[in-house]
């Protein structure tokens, strides 16, 4: 088990290094000096940046400098927001995104497990057909459309009631959280539901479920201790990609619901060509996603004894 986890971590580290490198060279492929584009920058900031990033030095030196800074966890200073460190931006806004993302993931996962199980249980009957139609619809509609429509519906609901029942946008307590999280999680939920349904069907038709029933197991006992656990395995392996989808999906949901998360700042930075923020955030997000995938892989090893043992020994 530990060897397995260690190998995973090591390959994760290599991946992060590769992402950082790719980011660096992608940003240096930008035609011309990235600094010349922004005319509004004050000379003081410009000088500071040039010194800091060694823009006058050769590319290799710059790369070494960049990697060194990344290793130290220093992402530099924003181009457009003077004297604001990228680290501060991440520190301040990432927890908001993480909160939104975790809630969305929970909603998506629990919803998908429930929906997939129900659909499999009623295979071919109306609950199954209804759920699968909803799934196809949810997968076919882009996340930003779902978010916009949700916002529209909230406004209409509030108008109809004459009082703001659900906040339309912004960030605050749970009332601000649940609608964006639901909206964000919907696509992932649909996707995972399909997976869960298929995997549940496979498990339900398997011989070990028949054998468990032959032992006298039925109903909830059968579901909890035999069906669910086995059916969850393929769904858990998809959690890594699901987290990636929720992260990028979060960009637009934060934009639409005016949530001060890192995703919104990232998109703003992209629109304003704030290179340091783009680079820092990309590397940060990349590292985050890689760590998540590694974590999911290790968690999967914990759930599935076959992997735990076969890879560990």
């Amino acid at each position: 088990m530990w060897t397995f986890a260690f190998k995973r971590l090591l390959s994760g580290a290599v991946t992060i290094w590769f992402i950082a490198t790719a980011t660096f060279f992608a940003m240096h492929a930008v035609p011309g000096d990235p600094l010349t584009r922004d005319k509004a920058m004050s000379p003081a900031v410009r000088a500071q940046l040039e010194q800091r990033y060694g823009l006058d030095k050769p590319l290799v030196t710059q790369y070494r400098l960049f990697l060194g800074n990344m290793l130290k966890g220093d992402f530099g200073i924003s181009f457009t927001q003077e004297n604001r460190r990228v680290n501060d931006i991440i520190r301040e806004h990432f927890p908001v995104s993480a909160m939104l993302g975790i809630t969305a993931l929970l909603i998506a996962f629990i919803g998908a497990v429930a929906a997939g199980s129900i659909a499999a249980q009623f295979r071919g009957q109306w609950p199954d057909r209804l759920l699968m139609m909803a799934v196809v619809a949810a997968i076919s509609v882009p996340g930003f459309v779902i978010a916009a429509v949700a916002q529209l519906l909230i406004v209409q609901l509030n108008n109809r009631l004459g009082q703001p029942l659900i906040p339309v946008a912004g960030w605050g307590g749970f009332s601000h959280l649940w609608v964006p999280a639901l909206v964000l999680g919907l696509g992932t939920m649909a996707y995972l539901s399909r997976l869960m349904r298929a995997s549940m069907l496979e498990v339900t038709n398997s011989e070990y479920i028949l054998a468990a029933r032959a032992k006298g197991a039925y109903g909830w006992r059968l579901f909890w201790s035999h069906q669910l656990r086995n059916a969850l395995l393929p769904v858990v392996t998809e959690l890594g990609p699901a987290i990636a989808a929720l992260t990028t999906g979060g960009f637009v949901v934060e934009l639409i619901f005016a949530i001060p998360g890192l995703g919104r700042y990232f998109v703003q930075a992209v629109q304003q060509l704030d290179y340091t923020v783009i680079m820092g955030t990309t590397v940060f997000y990349g590292a985050f996603l890689v760590i998540m995938v590694v974590a999911v892989d290790i968690a999967y090893g914990l759930i599935d004894p076959r992997i735990r043992y076969s890879r560990g020994r």
């Binding site: 995973r8 992608a26 940003m27 038709n205 890594g240």
Partner: protein, 443 residues
């Protein structure tokens, strides 16, 4: 070291990674002895939903490519007088001269409407002694309340030029600081266009009126015809959605085939490169690459978009084809062909192509909706095509600004994206199910 992380799915979801829906033959074994029961053979033809999806795709293509021949409005033509309109038929409008400094001649005894058209509504009411300022409100006639406060006027007249439509309005005038209503009108502005705009658009004048074109789906926030824009945007979206997968699948196939045929250390290196690219978070690097490529002056940004997509998406088919080449070259019949003295290329063309082609077709039909999604996402966050070119995603980005007042401006392009994605996904499912069992494993 070997990079074994599975990042294949750092990309938008598609139906491709899941199993067939209910009612198909994939899991027809419902019971323990199902293996002993005669199973219905999967029909080799497309399912009904697959055919339906095919028809929908053809209709979409007709809409975006043939449509502009029928509906010849310029998608980027802006109508100042027709901003955010609902659906309208072709109608005539009176030409009027705008004059923001309008003043009435003399005073009136009763409340008067001097003129009411969609360019301006001119109101005048009797001045009241001791009132310093009048408050003018406008509301829709069918709604109760005063509505929006238009102005505080020191004189007893007012010209309203604020986004007038052909609906019935109620104007109310009150003295400032008092609740007493001094005057009230219900007014329906008649269609009108300023002489200035008519000249700008080059509309021919006919006895003081011009003919305005119809807008079956209304106009957007810049007064552009939504129907024409949907056609133009769809052209971009579908072109990106079709061309990008063609390119990256072609590149991936070539790459994978070469790696598989070369074998040895070359294959090893080639596959490490694939591992590296797969390890990159897809959408994040799509954004990054789009920023890196930028959009030069006079470009519409479609090429960098496709380039970025090709750079990020070719790996899947490269792996697929390499695996196929490797497994096929071990097949006895390929072995036999080799022993019979067939050349490498001949073997590939004769034996591998027919085996691999259906797989490529299926992965293509799943790559299309994924590419459409990606384009829409990037356009939505402002990294898509540059004006005057447009795409459905870019139109959603435009439409989100007026979502609350005119939701159709966003919902229409959004619906087009959804229909296209749904159609291609369904077609992909149907193609996969129609194929043999090997295609199912591909999912």
């Amino acid at each position: 070291m070997k990079m074994s992380l599975s990042y294949d799915l750092f990309r938008p979801y598609s139906l491709s990674t899941t199993y067939p829906l209910a009612g198909d033959g994939a899991c027809s074994g419902n019971g323990p002895e199902s293996v002993e029961l005669p199973l219905a053979m999967p029909s080799p033809s497309l399912s009904r939903s697959g055919k339906l999806a095919g028809v929908a795709i053809v209709l979409l293509l007709v809409f975006v490519f043939i449509g502009p021949l029928v509906w010849q409005q310029d998608p980027s033509r802006q109508w100042l007088s027709q901003i955010s309109m609902g659906p309208s038929a072709s109608n005539s409008a009176r030409l009027v001269d705008n004059d923001s400094l309008w003043q009435p001649r003399g005073e009136v005894q009763t409340a008067v409407v001097h003129s009411a058209n969609t360019e301006f509504v001119r109101l005048q009411w009797p001045a009241v002694e001791g009132v310093h300022a009048y408050q003018v409100f406008r509301n829709f006639a069918e709604q109760s309340g005063l509505g929006i406060p238009l102005a505080v006027s020191r004189v007893a007249y007012y010209q309203d030029e604020l986004q007038l439509a052909e609906t019935r309005y109620r104007y109310t005038v009150k003295a400032e600081g008092s609740d007493k209503v001094l005057a009230e009108w219900e007014v329906t502005p008649e269609p009108a266009m300023s002489r200035f705009e008519a000249q700008l658009q080059g509309l021919p004048e006919q006895s003081g009126r011009v003919i305005l074109p119809a807008h079956p789906l209304g106009t957007d926030a810049l007064g552009r015809d939504i129907l024409a824009r949907l056609m133009a945007g769809g052209r971009t979206s579908l072109m990106v959605g079709l061309i990008a997968p063609c390119l990256f699948i072609a590149f991936g196939c070539l790459y994978g085939a070469l790696a598989g045929i070369a074998g040895g250390w070359l294959d090893n290196v080639a596959m490490r490169v694939v591992d590296f690219v797969i390890a990159l978070p897809f959408l994040l690097f799509m954004i990054l690459l789009r920023v890196a490529f930028g959009i030069g002056p006079g470009e519409d940004g479609v090429f960098p978009l496709i380039l970025a997509m090709v750079m990020m998406s070719w790996t899947g088919s490269a792996r697929l084809i390499r695996g196929q080449v490797l497994s096929l070259s071990q097949q006895p019949y390929v072995e036999a062909a080799r022993l019979a003295g067939m050349g490498r290329l001949q073997i590939i063309v004769r034996h591998m192509l027919p085996n691999v082609l259906p797989m490529i077709l299926v992965s293509f039909s799943f790559a299309v909706p994924s590419a459409i999604f990606t384009e829409a996402f990037l356009s939505f966050i402002g990294l898509g095509v540059a004006p005057p070119s447009t795409s459905w995603g870019a139109q959603c980005n435009d439409g989100i600004k007026t979502l609350l007042s005119h939701p159709q401006q966003m919902l229409l392009p959004a619906a087009m994206i959804s229909i296209a994605v749904l159609a291609f996904n369904t077609l992909g499912d149907a193609l996969r199910d129609a194929g043999d069992s090997r295609l199912r494993e591909l999912s």
